[in-house]
């Protein structure tokens, strides 16, 4: 990575990376506890695109981060059990999470926050993995209240005391959708690709053949082959969203047991299915993010579940074997062209989102 820096006051610095083309600029910085990466063409649009991405990431972080004391979702705890008026941004993030819960049949559930905290994921992950646990502190199943306990009417949010929201299964995807849209608008022409921790959205015009994307266990991999990780693949994304969920990352040791961040709402414990990594392409990154998480959680039936929803997916089993579903390209450089618009999670922000089923 070059030493070039795009300085933006008060935020982590963007650093330029090589794209292999003078027409395409790529930059990266830390964001949301992971890395944000932006590719844009024409390259001259980078500065305006970076500014737009920064604003959207800050908006998402300030609204939905569990790990910021000043975030809306943290401050809501001061009003436990009471209806609370939230910002339009947080309302959209919660609406997307609830919609995902509905169309995944509860496989993705934003009320797993309490279970994640019980597992030890109660702070930024960089600190979680440093924590030491006593032998008697083995992880135990936690009760998941269920997404039906949450009611959102416009921007008025109601949920019982004790419910802890975690929007991790959809928020990064939504952030990528927001950021890509804003970056494209700021650029005015060409195309952008925004990745937040490996979940990405392509907007505008893609380069010839599509944006080249490496599919891997971990979004920080750049090598085509590694003995530590499962086989990689190069695909070309022509638009929409692409997300990968993996139990191979964000893992930590708790009292001698390996736990990870993808919680099965049915058990309150880390998902224990056969898939270590699932990548899904969908119309939006939020939908792709929810689907890849749901596939890891649903386990053995994931290929059928994904195919029934018309989603192209790549599943990597624990032994490294790969299964392709729903038109995912078999060869390197194959194109991924998610159907547009056809959003799985529609409607996004209805005037009144009453998802029913309240106990």
């Amino acid at each position: 990575m070059s030493a070039s820096v795009l300085g933006l006051t008060g935020r982590p610095m963007w650093q330029l990376a090589s794209s292999g083309s003078a027409q395409v600029a790529v930059a990266e910085r830390d964001a949301l506890g992971t890395t944000a990466r932006l590719a844009v063409w024409p390259a001259g649009s980078l500065r305006s695109a970076v500014g737009a991405v920064d604003r959207e990431l800050e908006r998402l972080d300030l609204a939905a981060s569990r790990f910021r004391a000043d975030s809306e979702i943290s401050r809501m705890l001061e009003h436990e059990g009471e209806p609370v008026e939230v910002s339009a941004g947080l309302a959209e993030a919660i609406a997307v999470a609830l919609a995902a819960a509905r169309w995944t049949g509860g496989l993705v559930d934003p009320t797993v926050g309490g279970a994640l905290i019980a597992l030890g994921y109660d702070r930024d992950f960089a600190q979680v993995r440093m924590r030491r646990w006593d032998a008697g502190e083995a992880p135990e199943p936690a009760q998941v209240p269920g997404w039906q306990t949450v009611r959102l009417e416009g921007t008025l949010l109601s949920m019982p005391a004790g419910v802890r929201l975690d929007l991790g299964a959809t928020a990064k995807g939504l952030g990528a959708d927001w950021a890509a849209r804003a970056a494209l608008a700021a650029s005015g022409a060409g195309g952008v690709l925004v990745s937040l921790g490996g979940d990405m959205t392509a907007a505008g015009e893609c380069p010839q053949g599509g944006w080249p994307v490496l599919i891997a266990d971990d979004h920080r991999q750049s090598s085509r082959s590694s003995s530590r990780w499962s086989p990689t693949q190069l695909v070309r994304l022509t638009g929409g969203g692409l997300a990968t969920s993996s139990t191979a990352t964000r893992r930590w040791l708790r009292a001698g047991q390996v736990v990870h961040h993808i919680v099965d709402p049915r058990t309150g414990m880390p998902a224990a299915g056969p898939w270590r990594t699932v990548s899904v392409a969908a119309a939006t990154c939020a939908d792709a993010n929810a689907a890849s998480t749901a596939a890891v959680i649903t386990g053995q039936d994931a290929p059928t579940w994904l195919a029934a929803r018309g989603l192209a997916a790549r599943l990597v089993a624990g032994d490294g074997s790969v299964l392709l579903v729903g038109g995912w390209p078999a060869a390197d450089n194959g194109r991924l062209a998610p159907t547009l618009p056809g959003q799985l999670g529609q409607p996004r922000v209805p005037a009144v989102l009453d998802l029913g089923g309240r106990p």
Partner: protein, 125 residues
């Protein structure tokens, strides 16, 4: 009943034309004229169909060509060489980003992920 040729065409005698035999035309002459008319009609129909097919093919070809011609494209366009604001679409040979699990960057100097190279200062498992 007018059985004279007009402009190369004549009305064919039919079963409803009850007086055609009485007009002095023999049945054989009528049959001959009828057969000639049918042949002429078939010739005209065949040429009409051929012309229509050729026309449709030419029109389809034109539109197919027009659709494939580089132009300002929308989200998801994958055609080669499309342009935006007069600029040729770039061609990328290697990955600009990686889709994978969202690991974290530790003690970051910004060097993580993608294809940019540099120092990777992370490990979360």
């Amino acid at each position: 009943m007018d059985q004279e040729y007009r402009g190369g065409r004549s009305r064919l005698p039919g079963p409803d034309d009850g007086d055609w035999m009485a007009s002095g035309t023999s049945a054989g002459q009528a049959a001959t004229r009828r057969d000639a008319g049918v042949r002429q009609t078939r010739r005209v129909s065949n040429w009409t169909v051929a012309a229509l097919i050729a026309g449709v093919a030419a029109t389809s070809g034109y539109f197919a060509h027009a659709a494939a011609t580089p132009a300002v494209s929308t989200v998801g366009t994958t055609q080669q060489g499309a342009v935006s604001g007069g600029a040729q679409k770039p061609s990328l040979s290697h990955a600009v980003v990686t889709s994978g699990g969202s690991g974290v960057t530790v003690g970051s100097s910004g060097g993580a992920g993608g294809t940019g190279g540099g120092t990777v200062t992370w490990r979360d498992n």
